[in-house]
């Protein structure tokens, strides 16, 4: 009976791991050992069930603190990108971790990063993660790498061919990832899975980046119900979203396809009364609870040598100002044809008229249908309702560079020189369940949003959104006297599968062991790989 229970439990465990692997992301990097100041290249294969459209890659230190991170766009169930490793990183083991909004399973990979200036710890030992179950990758014999010799000279041109038999070709889902990079003696652990303890988002899933947080009453510090939260993305056609909080005071926004770094303003106010509110964004940087255990390890002599060699290479590349990658321009995304507040009834450029000192004068002289008054130092603003021929009693939607503002003192001193254009909507506008009694949108000459003050209920962010695509630089033939100190001599994360795939690369000046590594994903969710080593002497 005991044997039966044991068999049953074993089978249960096998099925659990297998099912999780097929539903998890797979993460591969160009190498395992890095020097601070370098660029890490990575490739992610996502399961077909992944809906969030983006994957977050976080570099986490041993204490569970996020050091840096990027967000990559998942296209055809795969993503590739890079992570700049800050020069200030101290030597030690780090985890590179994938996470998405919809999956509780996270894939981690251990990396060793040595500080460029301090090298390895003098104690010759460090900590490494333990008790991890590595992800299964299957080495396929059918996939052949032809044309690779055992030995090459520095700066020798290499031509290799990847041969994919028809049977395997039909099974491949998406692209293949091919890298040729230097290998490190005393290799790190393979990728492994981690089950998140955090709750994944239960909100409606839309492709893009998630921003969430909580609104609390400033006095009681309790979650605030019925707070209206605005998210604005200042632009020529500004982006806008809103959220009305429930009992738990939580809000959630999903930003679509924006690339690079974008300014984002989040603000809130009470829907029905004038409570003072506070916005607190969720902190995703502290991931201590989800860390594996660590135990001491001692470095081998080969590993120390590899670190010393890589450090020299990185330092010299910095001296010669050799950039590892070139950032590609972001794809052009078709945004809204008109602003969320509607097609303006009127657009006025005050700079076409005589200089006016403040907004009071501008509204009187140039903005027909806009009544801005500053009696007893209490500014008021009203817009004329053209459809019903009266002035709205309520404050219109007032925007400064696309950011809604409620404090009229912000605009009262704005004169002709400060304003690029003013757009007015002289009708009652609706956006979802929001009602705007007219709209006055002011676009400033500087467009730097500095006039909008930060406070407890208004947060300005410079948000890192989807990473730009990048290509790995190859050495220029026009500079033959410069050293070629590349440690990654080929990086093709999106190689289209074909019966024959030609690979061309040139070895660098760094001597040592190199590996051609091919990764791919099959339609059943399994990961396949093939590797072949060669020496450069």
């Amino acid at each position: 009976m005991g044997r039966k229970i044991f068999t049953l439990l074993l089978l249960f465990a096998v099925f659990t791991v297998d099912a999780q692997e097929k539903e998890s992301l797979n993460l591969f990097t160009d190498r395992d050992l890095y020097i601070s100041g370098e660029t890490l290249l990575l490739k992610v294969f996502a399961p077909a069930s992944e809906q969030s459209g983006v994957v977050s890659i976080d570099l986490i230190n041993r204490n569970g603190k996020k050091v840096t991170g990027v967000i990559l766009e998942i296209i055809d169930r795969q993503a590739d990108g890079f992570v700049y490793l800050p020069d200030s990183l101290s030597s030690g083991s780090y985890l590179l971790r994938t996470s998405t909004r919809t999956s509780k399973i996270r894939t981690c990979k251990e990396l060793y990063i040595a500080n460029r200036f301090t090298g390895l710890p003098e104690s010759n030992s460090d900590m490494k993660p333990v008790g991890i179950v590595p992800l299964n990758v299957t080495s396929v014999q059918d996939l052949q790498v032809d044309g690779i010799e055992n030995q090459y000279k520095p700066r020798q041109k290499v031509h290799a061919t990847l041969q994919l038999p028809a049977g395997l070709l039909n099974q491949i889902d998406g692209d293949l990832s091919v890298s040729v990079a230097g290998t490190t003696q005393g290799n790190m652990a393979p990728p492994f899975l981690q089950i998140s303890e955090e709750e994944t988002s239960q909100s409606i899933v839309k492709e893009g980046i998630n921003i969430d947080g909580i609104i609390t009453d400033l006095k009681t510090a309790k979650p605030f119900k019925n707070a209206v939260v605005y998210l604005s993305i200042p632009d020529s056609i500004p982006g806008f979203q809103y959220f009305i909080t429930g009992e738990d005071g939580r809000f959630n926004f999903q930003i679509g396809k924006y690339y690079g770094k974008i300014p984002v303003v989040i603000q809130c106010f009470a829907k029905e009364n004038s409570n003072l509110l506070k916005i607190t964004l969720s902190d995703r940087n502290n991931l201590k609870n989800a860390m594996p255990a660590f135990e001491p390890r001692t470095f081998t002599t080969e590993f120390r040598k590899s670190v010393a060699k890589s450090t020299d290479a990185v330092t010299f590349r910095k001296i010669f100002n050799q950039q590892e990658i070139t950032i590609q321009p972001a794809p052009i995304i078709k945004r809204d044809a008109y602003p969320y507040y509607g097609v303006p009834t009127k657009t006025i450029d005050p700079q076409l008229f005589i200089d006016l000192p403040d907004f009071n004068e501008i509204s009187k002289e140039l903005l027909s249908g806009v009544k801005f008054r500053n009696y007893n130092r209490i500014p008021t603003l009203q817009v004329f309702n053209a459809a019903q021929q009266f002035y709205f009693n309520d404050l219109p939607l007032l925007l400064l560079d696309g950011i809604p503002i409620r404090d009229l003192n912000v605009i009262k001193d704005m004169g002709t020189k400060d304003i690029d254009k003013v757009e007015i909507c002289q009708n009652e506008r609706f956006y979802g369940d929001l009602i705007f009694p007219g709209v006055v949108a002011i676009y400033t000459s500087k467009a730097d949003y500095t006039r909008v003050p930060e406070s407890n209920d208004l947060i300005k962010l410079n948000l890192e959104v989807i990473q730009h695509h990048a290509v790995v630089n190859t050495p220029s033939e026009q500079l033959p006297n410069e050293p070629d100190l590349r440690q990654v001599i080929l990086w093709k994360p999106t190689l289209k599968p074909a019966p024959k795939m030609e690979l061309y690369f040139q070895t660098s000046d760094i001597r040592g062991s190199y590996k051609v590594v091919v990764h791919g994903k099959t339609t059943d969710g399994s990961i396949i790989y093939k590797e072949q080593s060669f020496e450069v002497n």
Binding site: K4, L8, L11, F12, F15, T16, A19, Q20, K22, E23, S49, Q51, T102, K104, S201, Q202, S203, I204, V205, K206, Q241, Q254, K334, A337, Y338, Y340, G342, V343, A387, Q388, N427, E428, R429, F430, Y431, G432, D433, I435
Partner: protein
């Protein structure tokens, strides 16, 4: 034996549980696109109706980026060529910005699905319009369901006020092709036949005769049009 059966059942039960857990149900994918528009101001009360459907009917709208939103109360104003929806959360009738829509559809009281496309009309009085699609395809049969406010013989309304204006239908029917644009068509047999060469006209007449179709109104015209499509008769357009 009983033990063995129990053992097998437990094993498969555990296996199923495992797989279900791993495939964890994901939240439903749905878009949070917001409807943009302005408040609908009631039209003047005259005889006739400015709307195609007087009551709000549950329907679906398609935004210009292709995203869809369904189960919203819609009413098409033929008079102003506007789509009005009823926002239950704020109890307001809102004219949806035409520019933000690709089209809309709803099922009318008689159970027919009515599909409207938003497209640019480059003919007389050019501009963005909603066209109802009577028959789709390479050459589509469209109708612009226009209602105009016209002077009519004096009459007393329900409140006893004397009026001389009424809403009157002024529907226009078009053949439409992406490349060739619009061609006005009338709802009669001759207008239909004029779109075919002489040789084809014979077979068109034969098909209509065989199927006992007499073109007298919109419904019979659509039946005839679909019959010709089914028989593979191509129109000169």
């Amino acid at each position: 034996m009983a033990n063995r059966i129990l053992y097998i059942i437990t094993f498969f039960g555990l296996m199923a549980t495992t797989l279900l857990t791993a495939q964890d149900e994901l939240p439903q994918k749905w878009n949070t696109e917001k409807i943009k528009g302005t408040r609908h101001i009631p039209y003047g009360a005259y005889s006739g109706s400015p709307f195609m459907n007087d009551k709000f009917i549950m329907g679906e709208i398609t935004f210009s980026d292709g995203l869809k939103m369904d189960s919203i109360g819609l009413r098409y104003s033929s008079y102003r060529d506007e789509l009005i929806y009823y926002n239950t959360a704020i109890s307001a009738q809102i004219i949806i910005d035409k520019i933000s829509l690709k089209g809309f559809s709803f099922t009318d009281e008689s159970g027919n699905k009515r599909v409207f496309h938003h497209q640019y009309y480059n003919g007389f009085f050019p501009g963005e319009r909603y066209f109802e699609v009577l028959s789709d395809g390479d050459i589509a049969l469209l109708v612009y369901r226009k209602v105009v406010l016209q002077v009519c013989p004096p009459y007393n309304d329900n409140a006893g006020n004397l009026k001389n204006m009424s809403y009157q239908q002024a529907y226009n029917y078009y053949l439409y092709n992406d490349k060739k644009g619009y061609e006005l068509i009338r709802l009669n047999r001759n207008s239909l036949l004029s779109n075919f060469d002489k040789l084809t006209q014979k077979s068109v007449k034969k098909i209509l005769r065989k199927n006992k179709v007499q073109i007298t109104d919109e419904q019979s015209f659509v039946i005839a049009w679909n019959l010709l499509k089914e028989n593979g008769i191509t129109i000169n357009f």
